[in-house]
């Protein structure tokens, strides 16, 4: 501690001051006082300036702490909202997983690949039935062709039957003529000729009926053949190849679905990571409390230093009243202020260190908008 009765070594004072960066104090007293008095004046002057620096630093720390806390609170609030949004987003992305897995049918999720399998099976059945239909139609066409040929052969038989009937009729007529020519001797022969003629008429009527019926059969076959031809000529090859196209589509759909599942799974993972990061950030910002506590300790220590300086300055000037009113070391202050790169902070220090004014509310200054109200010495710097 300070021992006022002992002459301090001037060189050691200069070294101490120089080692803490601020410039050395230069006394500008006009009449050279005794060496120990001059040294004490410099001590008093330094103590006075240190008090002002401490007060200015306390003020800066308090306002900076307040500013950081306000911003941290705002950031914390924003991150908490972000955390809620991230959770909701994770839930939404998670719900996409169900959509990517399959489609909902009657309240149940049916996987896309199962739908593809079902469709393939159904289309396979359809194609098989088309083949059966085509085969049966062609069998019917061949059967009707055969039947038509049979009927045509029957029609030829009927024509031959007509010829036989005409011949029989002619024979009966000739027999009747010959019977008439024979007179009474041919009476029995005339009876037979009449019977043959009647028989021929009946056969002719029967043949006419058969022709009529046969025409009905022929017409029916022709009609059936025409109908069957219309059925058989419907080309189902396009329908068969539709299966091929649908299978290609389904393969593409299953492939796209697999891609979608991968993307959604990645998105779910990413969303989870984002949520975790945001939660971590919220927790991290809440450690601002500890920073504030540290700064409070620093401020408290600075206050103690201030009081200690005030006490020793007061006791010194009480003992040696001629030391009171030591002039501030302007050059030292100048060199100190040159170290500040922030102009508004420099201006505040000027006001405080040289004019001794207590700092104003710095809240506006923290946002960098305004310079402090100019004191009497501001323009010097």
């Amino acid at each position: 501690m300070f021992r006022l009765g002992r002459k301090p070594r001037e060189t050691s004072v200069r070294l101490v001051v120089a080692s803490t960066s601020p410039p050395s104090i230069h006394s500008e007293v006009e009449a050279p006082p005794p060496p120990h008095e001059a040294l004490l004046q410099r001590w008093i002057s330094l103590a006075d300036m240190q008090q002002r620096v401490i007060q200015a630093l306390v003020s800066e720390i308090a306002h900076t702490s307040g500013f950081v806390e306000t911003e941290a609170d705002a950031l914390s609030g924003r991150f908490q909202r972000l955390a809620v949004s991230a959770e909701q987003q994770t839930a939404r992305v998670d719900s996409l997983t169900h959509l990517a897995t399959g489609i909902e049918v009657e309240g149940k999720i049916v996987p896309i690949d199962r739908i593809a399998g079902l469709l393939e099976s159904t289309l396979g059945d359809v194609v098989e039935k088309i083949l059966h239909l085509s085969k049966d139609s062609m069998s019917m066409v061949y059967a009707l062709d055969e039947l038509k040929a049979n009927v045509q052969r029957v029609e030829k038989c009927m024509e031959q039957l007509d010829g036989v009937n005409n011949t029989t009729n002619m024979l009966a007529l000739n027999a009747r003529i010959e019977a008439e020519r024979a007179g009474a001797a041919g009476s029995a022969f005339r009876v037979v000729a009449n019977e043959v003629r009647e028989l021929s008429k009946v056969t002719q009527a029967l043949a006419a009926t058969m022709k009529s019926e046969l025409k009905g059969v022929t017409d029916g076959i022709s009609h059936g053949h025409a109908t069957l031809q219309r059925v058989a000529t419907i080309d189902l090859s396009g329908n068969i190849l539709a299966k091929d196209r649908l299978e290609v589509l389904m393969v593409a759909l299953v492939s796209r679905n697999a891609n979608l599942e991968t993307i959604v799974a990645d998105a779910v993972k990413e969303a989870g990571l984002i949520s975790a990061d945001v939660d971590g950030m919220v927790t991290g910002i809440q450690f601002q409390d500890r920073t504030r506590q540290r700064l409070e300790h620093v401020v408290d220590t600075l206050h103690l230093l201030d009081r200690a300086l005030e006490e020793i300055k007061s006791s010194t000037t009480t003992t040696l009243p001629e030391l009171a009113g030591a002039a501030p070391d302007i050059e030292w202050v100048k060199k100190l202020l040159e170290r500040f790169t922030m102009s508004e902070m420099r201006a505040r220090f000027v006001v405080h260190l040289l004019d001794g004014e207590l700092p104003d509310d710095l809240s506006d200054d923290m946002s960098g908008n305004n310079a402090p109200s100019s004191g009497g010495s501001t323009e010097l710097f």
């Binding site: 083949l131 085969k135 139609s137 000529t233 090859s237």
Partner: protein, 99 residues
């Protein structure tokens, strides 16, 4: 549809298009094939460009006829649309199909 028989009457090559309108012609071809003596009946499709569902039906009929006669039916070298139709209908499960 056009067709060309081998000397032994058990192998025929058909070309152009095989549709319903060829049913009468194909009946003659099938009868000649079934009259042949070889155990295997071969229908060469290398030059066939198009087949419709009726054509497939007629091939199935001649297969049944060959089965009845205890003979085998081979469909050879389908290509283009004909091969696609065979693939989609899984004709290789119903016939012996050779590339």
């Amino acid at each position: 549809m056009r067709f060309e028989f081998d000397a032994d009457e058990s192998k025929v090559s058909i070309s152009a298009e095989f549709t319903f309108t060829d049913h009468a012609t194909f009946k003659v071809i099938a009868a000649r094939l079934l009259d042949g003596q070889d155990k295997a009946i071969v229908i060469d499709l290398a030059k066939l460009e198009f087949i419709d569902s009726a054509g497939l039906g007629m091939l199935l009929i001649v297969r049944d006829e060959a089965d009845k006669a205890r003979r085998s039916l081979v469909l050879r070298s389908p290509c283009g649309q004909v091969k696609r139709m065979f693939d989609v209908t899984k004709f290789d499960t119903l016939f012996t199909v050779e590339a």
